[in-house]
Every structure is written in structure tokens, then in C-alpha cells.
Symmetry: D2
Subunit: 338 residues, 4 copies
Amino acid sequence: MIIQLEKNISSTAQDRLEEVLAEIQYKPNYIQTQYQKYIVAIGKEEFDIRQIGGLEGVQDIHQVSDNYKLVSKKWKVEDTVIDLGDGVKIGGGHFQIMSGPCSIEGEAQIEETVAHLVKNNVKIMRGGVYKPRSSPYSFRGLGLEGLQLFYKICSARGIKIITEVMQVEQIEAMLDYVDVFQVGARNAQNFNLLDALGRVDKPVMLKRGISGTIDELLYAAEYVFSNGNERIMLCERGIRSFEKAYRNTLDLNAIPILKHKTHLPVVVDPSHGIGIRRFVAPMALAGVMSGADALIVETHACPEKAFSDGQQTLNFQEAAVLYEQIRSTRTLQEGFNR
Amino acid sequence: MIIQLEKNISSTAQDRLEEVLAEIQYKPNYIQTQYQKYIVAIGKEEFDIRQIGGLEGVQDIHQVSDNYKLVSKKWKVEDTVIDLGDGVKIGGGHFQIMSGPCSIEGEAQIEETVAHLVKNNVKIMRGGVYKPRSSPYSFRGLGLEGLQLFYKICSARGIKIITEVMQVEQIEAMLDYVDVFQVGARNAQNFNLLDALGRVDKPVMLKRGISGTIDELLYAAEYVFSNGNERIMLCERGIRSFEKAYRNTLDLNAIPILKHKTHLPVVVDPSHGIGIRRFVAPMALAGVMSGADALIVETHACPEKAFSDGQQTLNFQEAAVLYEQIRSTRTLQEGFNR
Amino acid sequence: MIIQLEKNISSTAQDRLEEVLAEIQYKPNYIQTQYQKYIVAIGKEEFDIRQIGGLEGVQDIHQVSDNYKLVSKKWKVEDTVIDLGDGVKIGGGHFQIMSGPCSIEGEAQIEETVAHLVKNNVKIMRGGVYKPRSSPYSFRGLGLEGLQLFYKICSARGIKIITEVMQVEQIEAMLDYVDVFQVGARNAQNFNLLDALGRVDKPVMLKRGISGTIDELLYAAEYVFSNGNERIMLCERGIRSFEKAYRNTLDLNAIPILKHKTHLPVVVDPSHGIGIRRFVAPMALAGVMSGADALIVETHACPEKAFSDGQQTLNFQEAAVLYEQIRSTRTLQEGFNR
Amino acid sequence: MIIQLEKNISSTAQDRLEEVLAEIQYKPNYIQTQYQKYIVAIGKEEFDIRQIGGLEGVQDIHQVSDNYKLVSKKWKVEDTVIDLGDGVKIGGGHFQIMSGPCSIEGEAQIEETVAHLVKNNVKIMRGGVYKPRSSPYSFRGLGLEGLQLFYKICSARGIKIITEVMQVEQIEAMLDYVDVFQVGARNAQNFNLLDALGRVDKPVMLKRGISGTIDELLYAAEYVFSNGNERIMLCERGIRSFEKAYRNTLDLNAIPILKHKTHLPVVVDPSHGIGIRRFVAPMALAGVMSGADALIVETHACPEKAFSDGQQTLNFQEAAVLYEQIRSTRTLQEGFNR
């Protein structure tokens, strides 16, 4: 059960509410986000919802049968819109392309990518400065300095930034240089990191775990939301299967299901998803048709020379063609849903 | 190595060819299809291809590095077109919708489905008369009599038929009442059935195994082709994964990969693929954008009363809307590839 | 519901029984095996079991909540023993090793394998004469002639034979030369083959499908049983997973679960299961400890020269050591369950 | 390439070594563990190993073809023994049982578990104080206070402690109250946590990821080792598959493969692995036969009342029987390898 509280609920009213919950044996979890106050109350007994709905200080009350609560569409029917400022919005009918390299490599690379994005009217740049790598001996990213440079160049040109955060300690230092925090597939159940990202007021994009279920992804979002941050996007990036013909199994089935279960925007990453350059475009377009609110595409001036993931990265010419196809596909898809 | 032989190759020329292959230690497999004579020669030695290319009776010769040979795009660059007659073609730019119930249930059901298809300009009806069922106590289909009725009604209205064949013994009796034989996921590696379907001159659609790899699907097609039948389509219908939020994991990644590896047409089955009615449409449209040559959709006048698979079946109103969306999506997608 | 009928139930009694079933809306399936007459009645209504239990001609009645019925341990608590004659028994406390090559290659190979088995007191020889192969160009086995030779040599020395049957048409010709029919993983849901094997009085070993669930394996057994053959064994042979460090994922979890769910004997195939020679022994011993009633091991005088699967095959010296370890492990394991 | 350095290598010798590596274009990673100094040098060129082997300050040099290096058996053939003090050792022939509840619940529970362990001669107690939970609303453990209590009671009775650490910030506070740090499956690729655990001198047990490959597990260990901590154990705890008949697919195939690839001890967790109480014993015994160096078993005085994972937890009577079976199985298994 989700109880939406009035902002200025009196302590007397709150005590009374707590008493009633205790009577029906519901355990309250107090939640204060950037927008609202909630109680998520967990219990098993059946009770008359009006008992609580009528109490002082209670704005609204919703019974949510899902195990995750705040991220469920069962109480919040309207789609969440993530507003990055300057008119860059995702969700609720707003569609975005996020594009850029796997790893930030240096000033020149950022500059040429930004030029490419501006030219092609793409508003969000992706790029990693902290890179999770299977081997400890691989390149692990340029770190905070790289991020500051990345942010400086992008913000000067009106481009928003999405980049991966790997641990709690990085959040504070990164906060001023990030428009969207990305949580990678390997940290999909790093609950301390999710808790901590719930305590900042910056959008977070959660990637589905390497073999994460759709429910686990929604639970991860519930961690962030219940810690205080409502600005969450979910990202399908390919799951692990038996098939060896591609890098991951981009699971587009997840898109309509997520859109049905949650009010949060859903992003598709076809580059990591299929992991082979030649096949990124059809999967990107299929992703749009499946109902995604945004796409995240890996691009590089010269994929062959990229520090990481070159084999799945488009060059700027290929990317420019794809952006146009994505947009026409989106236009058609939007028409279907009217 | 694939050697295309001249139709009227002399026995002397054939002997000579065999000698040369023996010299370079290649084992010849003689193949006579409805269209052409081939030798698929398997060996390891390197040799000068002109040694063979110049021989009498040899039309052309191709070295194919894939393990499957005849179905590979490495020797036959042009897409195969499956022609069902009356202008109904699949592949090589021709796109079709196949629609109908999971199980054929009786005359009335066939009649109303055909009326729906004719009205909506759909040319191929799907419907099972032999049903593979997990439990021996479930409905197993109307059998041959059902098929004859099915065919009679459809052919009278110009509708082509696709239906599943489950065993070798059924082929002969079914032959006159079928436009496309379907091999189900559970028989994806029933090699005797594949051999036998290679010996008839009717198109065959092979479904990918429940956890079949893309290579296994291509090998299955190689069985049919190497037994003499070049008229083959491949169908992605969902693989088995850990995810429980849907019935199967429709693997659209397979589409661009198959289109890259083989000259055969590729079909997507979103109904079995995701297995939940509400999500069939987005997956169907995503399937078109991923590059499919045909879609196979489950429809029924009243899905709630269907003998099988009702939960993933569209009613006629829903289906009619989807056909139109499929066609506009296909038109857009075709434009991209020009 | 399973109704065990008296052998000489009168037609009047049978009619009466059918009437009662019709009244409670249960659909009867008549089953006549080599041992007994049953009705498996499928329905949903609740009813008083004594209504039927007290009828003439009814020996016993069992309500089975599983979806599979006849193979369930819920009605037949005692383990089924498969008796191959000459004191060779499997299940219900009887343990066997089955050993031999993947493919039967010729007389000399059979002779030396039999000598090895006799010397090591192994009673059952495995060996394929019909080989399911991914590629149509691979060796597909010696066929019926090979089988006749195989049987002749083995039966002369008191060795029982297990070999794979791939299609319905092969059954009749094979019948006199086989002690156990094996159904391979690729035919795990070839329902026509299962039906047909239900109509012969020869033991059948069913391999779990490549990604077959435990329930699907039990359903496959239900097909055989409900067609009339109670002599069934189940075999775990490795499932398909994402892991690439071995050939298949031998799923020993299946053993205690199957032993809990069914009265049928359970066999472990560690050779196909892990697929790497060096690791067969530990997985075989683990298989014994997990509760298997039999093991099936690939051996060859010279694995390097085997026609197929050499990489997972033990030579005779390795196998002889393993047999002894298997037996001591089994002795210890048996003691635990007393 | 791994270069073992002499402890007191001079800076001149180190400079010279670096020069030579630069010449052959190998990138050196300096590693100082609690025992030794190493350079892991990564490069592609072939070179004469004696060039480096003969240099001053170089104790030994090993070329390791695996992608992970320090954890590979290719350079360190002898098994690593983890010594927890007081004669409690794991690996290299030393076998241990770790037993205890999923969650530490309070003093009484610890006391009664310790009494049970002492009585049954089990030397290591498992128990979680930081619990990773899918839902943010579930019980998340007693935290540091719980740990201090846990450690106090155990150390007074000579019982060693293994418990999960979830984030970098917890390490320092936990350090004095832990004998073995456990990294859970969800943190299997939390590289910052792995880095940090490499910088302490306490044994670490790494659980395989929920769908982690064997190679990823070895890479995780390489992170810990290359940061300075050689005291690592690996734990198989079940992978995610399509099968729904059990909680996870305990993958015993991993045991012989890990024992072949690495010198580190390998632990099996049958409780999480199969996740159903009734089946824990056969999987535990199978785990021993597959070659494990230790088992980790969930026990509770009253599993029905356990705060978490009760359905897979043994009561003390069941556990006592299992310990004895484990020990006799281990004795038999050890005999095989002599």
C-alpha cells in the first residue's frame, strides 16, 4: 500500500496514521523524495482502505498488488517524464537519442563527438570515465578529471551527459558534472549504490543485470525511489543466453512489458545489446518499434581505434543515417498509439 | 566447397570430377534439387579452385567457409524467393503476413477466419491439425480430415495454407493439401523428418528449436536442401531463457544475423515468441523493423474460446489494426534499405 | 485421477464406471500396459473418491495432483525396477553401469569393448548405430546391419544393449536386436516416436531435452507409459546454459528431484554431460552421490580415433579405474539411505 | 607473464627490468601481496624468456597463456592453503564444513548454533549481518553490532567466522570481527569492492555471479590477488537457468574445472545452490565427490522461523547427520586421488 502524504502533515496526524497502521499490522516505510512524501506500508491483512484514506494528512492511498510499489503503474498511471533541462525530456511521449563513445578518451575525441551530435541534433552524450572491466589489467577510464573535461565541453554546447558511476564514494565528486548517472549491468544489484543514488537529486538510468529479471530491474528502481529519488530510467542492454552468434541477447520483449508495469521511461541499448556493429541499426529500429522512450548508441569518429567496444561502435556517417531512421520510425510508431 | 553441375553433365565428366576430388581428398555429396545439381565436397586440404572450375560439366564452384554450405549467403548472394503461386511470394523483397488460429477447430472457424483474411488482404492462413502437446491427455488436433477441410475452404478463396507436419509418415497424405509444411520447434532436430521434407517439392518453414542456436537452425535447413528441396524458410519463435515475465524470449537479434548468413527468407512469430496477447503487436512491429520477410500471427474470432494458445491470440479487430501497422512499418523499413 | 482396473473387468462394470466419470465430467483415457489396465481420468470437479473406489472392477484409485499422472510417485510409491533379464536390473536399489563407444564402428571395436566390459563386470553396452548429427555431411552410423552385429556379439557374451532409435520406422526392425531403446535429447519431444515406443514391450531410456525442463521429461515418460509401456528410465545428460567452459551443463540437481517426483529409475550421463574427458570421473562420482540408479559412460579402446565424441571418451584403463570408484561410491551412498 | 621478484630487489635492478619490459613492449603491473612481490606484464610480442629470467632481482618467471594470471594453476602448480589459525585450514588436502544460518538474528540464535557446531566438530560458522535483498522493504541484517556479538561468541569457542561484506565502506569496521570476508553473487563484479578486499590481509571467499561464467569468477579473484591479497577461495552457489523446479542450478561441473584452472580452494554451497531443504544433502555429497575443498551449509535451530531462506535450511538434527555423511564421502574421495 502506498500512502501519499500532504507536505505539511502535522505530527499529530502522522502519529494517528501510524497507530492505524499498527492496528492492521502494516509496517510503514517513510519516504521523502524531491517531490513528495509517501508511506509504503507492507502487511498482509485485508482492511477497509477508507479507514486510512479518510485520515487527516493523507492525500491519497493506493493498493498495489505488485511486490515493487512506488515504481508500479498500478498507482501512478501517468508516465514519468525525466526533464534534463533546456527542453531535453525523456518519457511520456518525449523521445531522445543518447550517443557517444564507450570510453571518454580525451579532449579531441569529446570535441569531435560533440560537433557530430550538435550537427545531428542529438541532445545527450554518453561516455564512460569509470569503466568496469573483466580484467584488472585493462584500461579503466580517465576518472574524475576526464569527467570534468567531458562535462565542460558538453555543457558549453548544450549537450547533456550520461555516464556510469561505479561506487558510492564517486557520487559526491561526480554530482556537479553529470546530467544522468548510469548504473551498469554489473552493479544492477549493488544495493548500497542504489540506496546512495536515491539520496541525490539527479536522474539515474539503471541497466538491467547481465541475467537480471525484469522484476529485479523494477526492484532496483524501487531502491532508488524509496530512498528519495523519483527520477529514474530503466535500460534494456541484452541478457546472457546460450547463443554465441552475438555478444548479448538484446531482449526487446522487456520493453512492452516494462512499459506496462511501470511509469518510468525505458531505454534500449542496441550497441551493447547485440554487440556487432553491422546489426546495431536493425536492432535500434526494432527497439523504437517495441516502444522505447530513448535509445543509447555507441559512436566514435574511428571505431577501429576506440579504447573499448570498437566492434559494436558506429562511425559518425553510419550514426547520422541511423538517427534519421530512428526518428522516422519513432514518428510512425507514435502515430500507432494515438 | 559447392560445385554447381550442368544439368546434362556426362558420366565421363562426372567420373573425372570425382577423380580430382579424390586426389585432393574431398568427399563428394551429390545433391539433386528441384532446380539444380550440386556436389557439396567436404575436405580440409587447400587446393587451386581452378583445377575444378575448369572441368567439363562444372557450371560454377564456390568455396564456403561456413560449416553449413548450401544455405549460406557466401555462395548465393541473391535472396531466395519462395513462390506459393497466384503471386504470393516471400523473400527477396516480397513480404507476407500469415495469420490464423493455433488449432483448426472446424468448418465454421475456418470459414470465418478465411473471411477475415480475405477482407484484410492476407494471403496465407496458418492453422494446426497435428498439435504437439506436452501432455498426452491434451487435444492433439483434427488430423488429416481437418486438413482436407482446411485446404478445401482456403484454396477456394485463394488463400494459401501453412500447417505443421510432425512425422515422416504424415508427409505423403498431407502433400496435396498443404502449401507450406511447418516444422515445429520440438522437431527442429528431427533429422529424419528434415531428410524426408527434402525429398518433396513443397516449401518448408523451419522453426528454431526451443533452445536452438542460429547455427543449428541453418544446419536443419541444410538437411532439407541437401536432400533436394531448396524451398525453405526459417522462423524465429522465441527461445528459452531464465525470464519468467513472458512465455518465450522472442530473439529478434536472430533476424539480422540470419539475413546476413543465409539467402533464405526469415519469418518472425511474435505470438509464440512473447506469448501474451497484449504484447504481440509491439513485438510484431519490432520484428518487421529487424528485417523479417514475413510475420506469422495467431488470430481467432474469439481467443477466449480457442482450443489452444488463446492467451497469445488476437481477435479479428485487433488483428486488422495490426496488419495495417505491419504494412506501414514494412513500407518504411523497405525505404531504409534502398 | 488414476483408476487401476481389474484385469477381467466386465463390460457392464466398465460401462458403469464410464457413466460415473461422465457424471463428474472426467474424461477417461484407457491404458493397457504389459502389466495392467488403467484409466487416467482428467477433470476439474471435486468429488468423493469412494464413489468410484467402490465400483465393481476397480482395483484401486489414486488422486494425483501432478500434471503427469502414471509416472508420478504420488500413486506408485515403490520404485520401478527395470529387469533386462539374466539378473541385470536397474532401479529400486539395483545399480548398473552402461559403458561403450558413442558410435558402433565395426566388429573389432565391438569385440574389444565387450572383452573390456566382461573383464570389468559391466553388464550393459551402449553404442549408436543411428547417429543424430548437426551436419548432414557427418557420419550417421552403421545402421541396422551394425546393430545386428552389435547384438550378436553382445548377446553371446551376456551383455545387454542400449542404443538410440531416431524414428518410428526403425522400431520394428530394431526390436529383436535391442535390450533398451534410447531416445536422444533431440527427440525428447518427438511425440510420435514416444507414442510408438509405448506400444512395444522393450525398456526405453528417455534423455532429457537439450533445454528440457524436468516436467517435460516426465511428460515424455507419460507419453510412453500411457501408450502401454511401463518400462521407462530417465536420463540426465546436461542442459544448455550460457557457460562455455564445458560442452553441456550436467544438471545433477535433476537427480534428487526426479527421484522425489517419479518411481522411474534415473540415469546420469557424465560423458555427454560435461563433455571433457578429464572431468568425466568427478562428475560420474558426483552423479552417484546425487542418487542415480545407473551411469552411462563413453569408452573406446582409443578415444583419439573414435568416429565421434572422442574428446569426452575414456580409454579402457581410465574406465576400469572409474568403474571401481563408482562402485565404492555407490556402496557408501546406499549405506546413507538405509 | 608473471615475474616473481626478490623481496629486496634494488631500485637499479628494478629500473633495468622495466627497461627490458619496455623494449619488448610489455606493460608492467606491480603487485605486492602479504607474501611476495610480482610483476604481471601484459604484452603480445614473443621474446626469449631467459632475457628476463636472468636479470638481477628476478626470482622466477612464468609465461601464463590464460587471460587471468596470478590465480592460474599454470604458474603455481601447488594448491593454495587458506589458514584461518588454530589449525583450521582449507585447500591443498584440507577440507572444512562451514555451517550456520542465512541471517544472524540475535544472541540466543548464535549461542545455540555455536553449541551445535562445537558438538559436531564444525570449525567455521557462516551468518549474514548485511543482507542483500531484492526488495528494499525486506529485513537487511543486524549490521555491525550483530557482527560484533557474532564474533565475540564464536571466537570465545574457537569457531571461525565467514560473513558477507557488501560495500567498501564496511570493510574497515568489519576487519577485526571477521575471519573470512564473503563477497556475494550480486557483487561478483563489483570491481571496487574486489579492489578494496585486495588491500586487506584477510581471507576472501568469492561467490560466482548469478550468471557468472567460470572465467569471470577467476577474473574476480585476479582483482583481489593483484591488489595484494593472495588468500582467496572461490564458491559455486548455483547459476540461473530456464529450469523452475529448483531455486538455482547448482553447477557442479564448475568444481573439477576450477580445480584444474586455479590453485585456489573451491567451495560448494548446496543450500543456495538447489534451494530446497530436502535436496540439500544429496547435492552436498555430490559436491564433495566433484572435488570441493569445503562445503557451506545453511542450518538453523528452527528453519521455519528463520528470518530468511528457511526453505533451504536444515535443522540441527538433519545437519548433524549430513556432516557425518560429508566426512565419510570426503574420506572416500580423498582415497581416489592418491
